[in-house]
């Protein structure tokens, strides 16, 4: 459609909004209520412009202007909100006229009537849409001489989000966000007119995606409590990176100041997370600045760990390595290590001629599907079968499934980026819930949005998949048919399926039989990449659990804490060399000969591969980590001590190797990442439990760091043991009890949450990196109640 914005003529597809036409033409109008990926509603009335269009005669010909001989433009009687106006053939938009300017200035004055003038104390100051737009479009003075509205200034909407009701300009972004994006309606307008305020019915914001409202709030009304009053926006160093909290590879912006991370915000990756991130990613960063981080290498001298130089520590290791030749040494990385770290670990293992190298946590089957689905496949899928607790495991899957339920395809990008007002999106759209089937051994959040729900007993994944494959049950048959019939079907497999080689095989068969694409939720951020890079044991006897069972005489462990298990701790105590590369002192460092300071996922430079096979850059934020290094740094220091220039001694060196292999320059990845096809690795050597009275479940917040994340700890109440009231009665537990209990040999500190929705006879507790999701035996006789209430900082 031919549209003219001021003096620029454009040809735009029908359905484009007038505001996008203005931005596409390179002009600007102010707006507060429109938001990328959300419905336009025209609430703020800021994007007013003089708009007109030609009209047709009854016979279909244009009504002509006799003076010019061109079609006559009929202007709307008043300025129009361009965000809710669709373009028409021949439309004329004037954003520079005096009428437009006066309308915008008037609306600006109106918005500022009740907005407090506390910009100097407001955390949004300097990055505030209202502040910027008032400067650009406001008249500079107010005729409102009366007292402004006064309201609550720090209302805690939840433990993580603070609402300043005076600052709210009623743009409705947050209210619409909850209904449209995660589909959790937890926020609404209360009262009317100038008295309108945002409120919740229940306490808190029961959603895994609540933090996004702090990003989209155009003023400082909704603020991230973890970063309240920590600094001003212009003082932060903004680093765009990729989240290492789950396998989605969500784009984040890390805001750091004076060596500390002050907040995490969502960043735009149109192919992965759009603008959104989950609360675990957003609020789970406080552990990085925790005071007890290991900042220098530590060496055990006379039974005590003492700070030493890198040189002293690595020379001690090099000396020991002389006696630990060949396969006597094991090297393990945690699965959120970057690709470069994986290459470095492999290079070190090659140099030391050991085949005992692994990454953990990983599952009994491969996380690289033959026919992988992308996030956009998921968002446009005609049928989705989820066999996982997606909302906790990889929360972004949950959000993108909800895109598919709306049935609106991802928008086409405009010259200015994502359309500001996508007119296909509406408030309270009907959802196609019948395309979604969710199967899980307990009640998961996504089931609220699913047309079909399959409950099964934990451990019977293979039987369930067999039934679906055979079509032996009605539900299974219907599911298989719908997956086959849909144009674009996606099967999402989580930990419970991947942990069983048999179930995983059947799921692959189901995908093949129905033509569906597969998404396998890796255990951690780089499970896909480390498997694709073959950071795997040379033979199945050399897997990490086998190393802990005694196949290694020396061990280099990065990021894992195996000594939580008392039996393993005993074995580790007898090792000739135990090197631990970690952030904090823990049970394993207590046994280590050498402890090396590690970098957190926010300080690393590197690349991760998300569950689609997309290579994404991880960039380092300026965080004070002392002498911490990532695993490439460990390899460099060890190489220096051994007198060798090892491959993988730096990110650059690792990338050189990867460039040859992948034909991909990792120094030059696009912001959206690059998908490279990968083959599944030789995954073997794991024998997960096939029985147990409890289920380790994936969780959005990282349980290993929860005690050092004070705000998340307060909002979640600590790592939870969830159980049915009947079980609670038989173990004499009541709600909010804090207990210590032995879980598969691990001593765990858990708080009790009793709920009817938990299947009777199964206890649910969060999985740890060293104790991945799956069945486990809880020793119920070992339950000890703690006398103190869980300490909340």
């Amino acid at each position: 459609m031919k549209v003219k914005v001021n003096d620029v003529e454009l040809d735009l597809p029908p359905g484009t909004s007038a505001i996008d036409a203005v931005f596409a033409a390179g002009y600007d109008v102010p707006y507060f209520c429109s938001q990328e990926y959300m419905s336009p509603i025209g609430a703020c009335r800021m994007c007013l412009a003089v708009v007109g269009a030609p009209r047709k005669e009854r016979d279909g010909s244009w009504i002509m202007d006799e003076a010019t001989g061109e079609p006559k433009i009929f202007y709307f009687p008043n300025p129009m909100a361009t965000c809710t106006t669709a373009v028409m053939e021949g439309m004329v938009i004037d954003t520079l006229s005096d009428v437009t300017k006066k309308a915008q200035g008037g609306m600006m004055e109106m918005h500022l009537i009740n907005h407090p003038l506390d910009c100097p104390t407001c955390d949004k100051g300097g990055a505030c849409e209202l502040q910027d737009r008032a400067y650009e479009y406001g008249s500079g003075e107010s005729r409102f001489v009366f007292t402004k509205r006064h309201n609550e200034k720090h209302h805690a909407l939840s433990d993580l989000i603070t609402l300043d009701r005076e600052r709210c300009i009623h743009c409705k972004r947050c209210v619409r966000y909850f209904e449209e994006v995660p589909g959790d309606e937890v926020l609404d307008f209360i009262e009317r007119g100038g008295h309108t305020f945002i409120g919740t019915v229940e306490d808190g914001l029961p959603s895994n995606f609540s933090g996004n409202i702090t990003d989209i709030c155009p003023v400082g009304a909704l603020l991230d409590t973890t970063s309240r009053f920590r600094g001003r926006n212009w003082e932060y160093d903004h680093t765009r990176s990729t989240s290492l909290d789950d396998a989605s590879g969500s784009a984040i912006t890390i805001d750091a100041r004076t060596g500390r991370i002050e907040r995490i915000k969502g960043a735009l990756n149109t192919q992965v997370n759009k603008n959104w991130i989950d609360d675990g990613t957003r609020f789970g960063h406080e552990y990085v600045d925790s005071g007890d981080r290991i900042k220098t290498p530590l060496l055990r001298k006379n039974g005590k760990l003492e700070p030493v130089t890198w040189e002293e520590a690595t020379h001690f290791i090099a000396e020991k390595l002389k006696t630990l030749s060949g396969d006597a040494l094991g090297i393990v990385l945690r699965s959120d290590a970057t690709l470069e770290e994986g290459v470095a670990a492999k290079a070190l293992a090659d140099h030391l001629k050991t085949g005992q190298i692994d990454h953990y946590p990983r599952y009994a089957s491969s996380v690289i599907p033959a026919n992988p689905a992308s996030f956009n496949d998921l968002a446009t899928a005609g049928a989705i079968f989820v066999m996982a607790d997606a909302t906790e495991e990889v929360p972004m899957i949950d959000l993108r499934i909800k895109d598919a339920l709306k049935g609106v395809n991802p928008p086409t990008l405009m010259p200015h980026g994502v359309p500001i007002a996508d007119l296909r999106l509406k408030e309270r759209m009907p959802r196609k819930t019948n395309i979604l089937t969710v199967a899980a051994p307990y009640r998961v959040d996504l089931m609220k949005h699913a047309g079909q729900v399959i409950d099964y007993k934990a451990g019977t994944e293979a039987q369930l998949l067999q039934q679906i494959l055979d079509g032996s049950t009605d539900a299974g048959k219907a599911l298989k048919e719908s997956l086959t019939a849909a144009d674009n079907a996606v099967i999402v497999l989580g930990a419970f399926v991947l942990n069983s080689a048999e179930a995983s095989k059947l799921a692959d068969d189901l995908a093949k039989a129905t033509g569906a694409k597969l998404m396998k939720l890796g255990a951690m951020a780089n499970s896909f990449g480390l498997e694709a890079q073959d950071v795997l044991p040379a033979k199945s006897d050399y897997s990490y659990p086998n190393m802990l069972a005694g196949s290694a005489k020396g061990l280099i462990v990065s990021g894992l804490n195996p000594a939580q298990n008392a039996e393993v701790a005993q074995m580790l105590g007898g090792l000739e060399l135990l090197v631990v590369h970690d952030l904090f002192e823990n049970e394993t460092t207590a046994l280590a000969h050498v402890v090396l300071p590690a970098k957190s996922g926010y300080e690393k430079e590197g690349t991760v591969v998300n569950l689609e096979g997309r290579y994404l850059s991880v960039n380092a934020a300026p965080v004070d980590g002392g002498q911490a290094v990532d695993f490439t740094g460990v390899v460099k220091e060890l190489g220096d001590a051994l007198g060798e220039r090892l491959e993988g001694r730096s990110v650059r060196s690792s990338r050189r190797l990867l460039k040859k292999e992948l034909e991909l320059d990792l120094n030059d990845l696009p912001l959206e990442g690059t998908v490279v096809a990968a083959k599944s690795g030789k995954v073997s050597g794991l024998k997960p439990n096939s029985s147990g009275n409890a289920l380790l479940v994936p969780s959005m917040v990282r349980p290993e760091y929860l005690s050092r994340n004070p705000h998340l700890l307060a909002s979640t109440g600590g790592n939870a043991l969830r159980l049915h009231p009947a079980d609670a009665a038989s173990y004499q537990l009541s709600n909010h009890d804090v207990i210590r209990v032995s879980v598969g040999g691990f001593k765990r500190l858990l708080s009790v949450h009793i709920s009817e929705s938990i299947p009777e006879g199964t206890l649910l507790l969060p999985a740890l990196p060293d104790q991945p999701a799956g069945l486990v035996q809880v020793d119920v006789n070992s339950i000890r109640k703690e006398q103190f209430a869980l300490e909340v900082a």
């Binding site: 506390d118 200034k153 720090h154 001003r232």
Partner: protein, 175 residues
Amino acid sequence: MSVFDIAKGMGVTLGHLFKKPVTVTYPEQPVDVKPRFRGRHHLLRHPDTNLEKCIGCSLCAAACPAYAIYVEAAENDPDHPTSAGERYAKIYEINMLRCIFCGFCEEACPTGAVVLGHEFELADFKYEDFVYGKEDMLVGTKGSKWQRREAEKKGKDVKIGFTSGPRPELEGVDY
């Protein structure tokens, strides 16, 4: 140039010989500074409530051309507020070696909390002693760090080497 010109020049010199000298025998004798003289900063309090005027907004730090100011804010305890407002400066530091005494901080301050006073005797021995914190600048503190250290050692009052006229912006500051 004639002899007459030389005599005229010498006459000027001679004339000044009989005028009152502008030099003072500092430090024995105090220097008189003008009211708008820009010396060491003061952090002011509201005289009625005794709350700090500084709300930790960091605008002074943003305006500072020499990057001499560092502010870290925190939330006020509603029962025992430090400042009048939601936030206060938990840390407020000015590096007097970096400061060029331009007064931009004073201009940027939305509450009139930071004002450049008349103290100029800031010489000291160690780099770290030039970083002035809140306790060194809050109203009621007289003298530079070194002057206060000396005064404490000798058990006397801080002796400052200047006299000055009043300046209304320096609310509560008494030299």
